[in-house]
């Protein structure tokens, strides 16, 4: 079983303090992993380091056999990325936007891939719409189509269903499910929706204060903390974090 993402000993310190403290993260081919944790746990920094956007202070990252940062360009040909908070560029139609990214991924026929992607998520009718005309749910779906144009080995989704209504969120999950089934795409997802995580992920990695505090199948992680589900684990870690911050704040 080979790894599509292998990060070891990631360290990152900003002026406000250590954001990531020795994180190891592995995603195997075809595996669906959720990276979880309360706000400030280090999820986004870990994700951005794994994507080659932020340079770690220490540690190593390898994607599809390409070591970052030197192999970033080659590695990114195997990665798709979408985030619920990223808008579509203004002044571009959806079709033009998808063609541009298809070309950035080196596709010989980006139009066909764009059409297939739009069909997969049942939004082919949006191809000629301007990015600014779309609802937030439609933008999210188009962003996911963009990230899957090149059949990536690893799909990284940061809060993919944030602010989506349940129907669109279900369409996102269904589309992703079809993709994973057909292509064996590995998923690395962050989300604050624990119910959704339990539906999507085979394995969850919990971060707290920049460290991995749990790594395993959702039910086993919940059991390890003596909780019924991931939401309770999340709330437990968040309260621990708040208590720790409160204690630090009381120190002279």
């Amino acid at each position: 079983m080979s790894d599509v993402l292998r990060a070891r000993g990631l360290l990152k310190t900003y002026r406000r303090g250590r954001a990531v403290d020795g994180v190891d993260l592995t995603v195997r081919r075809g595996e669906r992993v959720a990276l979880l944790g309360p706000n400030g746990a280090g999820k986004t920094t870990t994700l951005l380091m794994c994507l080659g956007v932020v340079e770690p202070d220490g540690g190593t990252i390898e994607i599809a056999g390409h070591r970052l940062p030197g192999g970033r360009s080659a590695a990114m040909a195997h990665v798709g990325f979408a985030a619920g908070y990223l808008p579509l560029p203004e002044r571009l139609r959806v079709g033009e936007y998808l063609r541009m990214f298809g070309q950035l991924y080196g596709l010989a026929d980006p139009e066909t891939q764009a059409r297939r992607g739009l069909e997969r998520f049942d939004i082919l009718h949006l191809a000629r719409a301007m990015g600014t005309e779309l609802s937030s749910g439609q933008k999210t779906l188009v962003g996911i189509v963009k990230s899957t144009l090149h059949d990536p080995e690893l799909l990284v989704l940061d809060e993919p269903t944030a602010s989506l209504d349940p129907d669109v969120a279900r369409r996102v999950r269904t589309g992703l499910a079809a993709l994973c089934e057909e292509r064996g795409t590995a998923l690395l997802v962050t989300s604050h929706n624990m119910l959704e995580v339990e539906r999507i992920a085979q394995r969850v990695v919990f971060l707290s204060a920049g460290r991995v505090v749990a790594d395993g199948p959702p039910d086993q992680v919940a059991a390890r903390f003596g909780r019924d589900d991931l939401e309770e684990v999340f709330l437990h870690l968040a309260s621990q974090r708040q208590a720790s911050e409160h204690t630090e704040g009381l120190r002279p």
């Binding site: 002044r91 063609r99 590995a186």
Partner: protein, 297 residues
């Protein structure tokens, strides 16, 4: 447990073709891929210009305003008296200066605003998570910038001809190396501006336009180094634009090809471009180390 998802695949091994999954979408050759990426960026910025009428100001209205301003200044002073030949030369210096200045201006503004467009539309993070390399992004923007440059300089040249009967093409082929040097200077300034924006964020945007107001009086656009206050003359002499514009004025005077000035301009341009690239690489490193991408996401 996994609604809509099948049972864990456990990472079933997939056959590989050229490092990519077999049966995946066809890709262009590795040699062609960088060119395709630059083309994608150039095309994206063509759409931005076509759908943003206010962006056309840079390549239509401002060139026209500059031509009328400096052309009319020259005509006014020419009418104040003095030898007719010197007065005519003054008008020609101003008009050739503004035509050539727009080579620097358009080259610089096209790349700087192209980068800014990606920050305004919060597209930078999405671009950075593709195989696109940083210099390919700059090259793609600069590639489309060439089209804007042709438009902007064309407007100035046409206006100079229409309003003041000044035909820049009469300066001959000697103009081509002067234009090449000024084009490179414009790109070098833009790399410096992009570096500052990477480091200081959108607050540095004003420099994209402001820096040109510093280069213009010091860069010998309309007059030789000796016309400046003595304190500023050494700075002016170091700028490659000073020598390129001096070469342009020699062509206006009908002199021989000014190889000496051109050589000085070329050497200065190579040094400036090298320094701008080093500065950009340094700022990019700072950008990645400090996680500044989150400013734009």
């Amino acid at each position: 447990m996994t609604e809509g998802f099948g049972e864990p695949q456990g990472g079933a091994p997939m056959s590989r073709v050229d490092g990519f999954a077999a049966g995946g979408p066809a890709r262009v050759s590795p040699e062609l891929a960088p060119w395709l990426r630059m083309w994608a960026i150039a095309r994206r910025h063509a759409y931005v210009l076509l759908r943003s009428p206010h962006r056309l100001f840079d390549v239509t209205v401002w060139p026209l305003v500059d031509t009328v301003l400096f052309g009319s200044l020259g005509v006014f002073f020419a009418r104040q008296g003095g030898p007719a030949s010197a007065a005519q030369a003054g008008v020609a210096y101003l008009l050739s200066g503004i035509v050539l200045w727009h080579v620097v201006y358009q080259a610089q503004i096209a790349v700087s605003t192209g980068f800014m467009e990606e920050t305004w539309s919060r597209n930078l993070l999405s671009l950075m998570v593709t195989p696109l390399r940083e210099l390919e992004l700059v090259a793609g923007v600069a590639l489309f910038g060439l089209a804007k440059l042709v438009m902007g300089v064309g407007v100035v040249a046409l206006a100079a001809f229409a309003f003041y009967a000044f035909d820049v093409t009469t300066l001959g082929l000697g103009l081509l190396p002067v234009i090449a040097v000024l084009l490179m200077v414009g790109w070098a300034i833009s790399l410096f501006v992009v570096g500052l924006m990477l480091r200081f964020g959108n607050g540095a945007e004003a420099l994209a336009w402001g820096i040109m107001f510093v280069v213009m009086p010091l860069g010998g656009v309309f007059y030789p180094v000796e016309a400046l206050p003595p304190l500023l003359q050494p700075i002016s002499a170091l700028l490659p634009t000073t020598h390129a514009f001096a070469a342009g004025r020699q062509l206006v005077d009908g002199g021989p090809m000014p190889w000496g000035e051109l050589a000085l301009a070329a050497v200065g341009t190579v040094i400036a471009t090298g320094a701008a690239l080093v500065f950009l690489a340094w700022m990019l490193r700072v950008f990645r180390r400090r996680g500044y991408v989150t400013r734009y996401s």
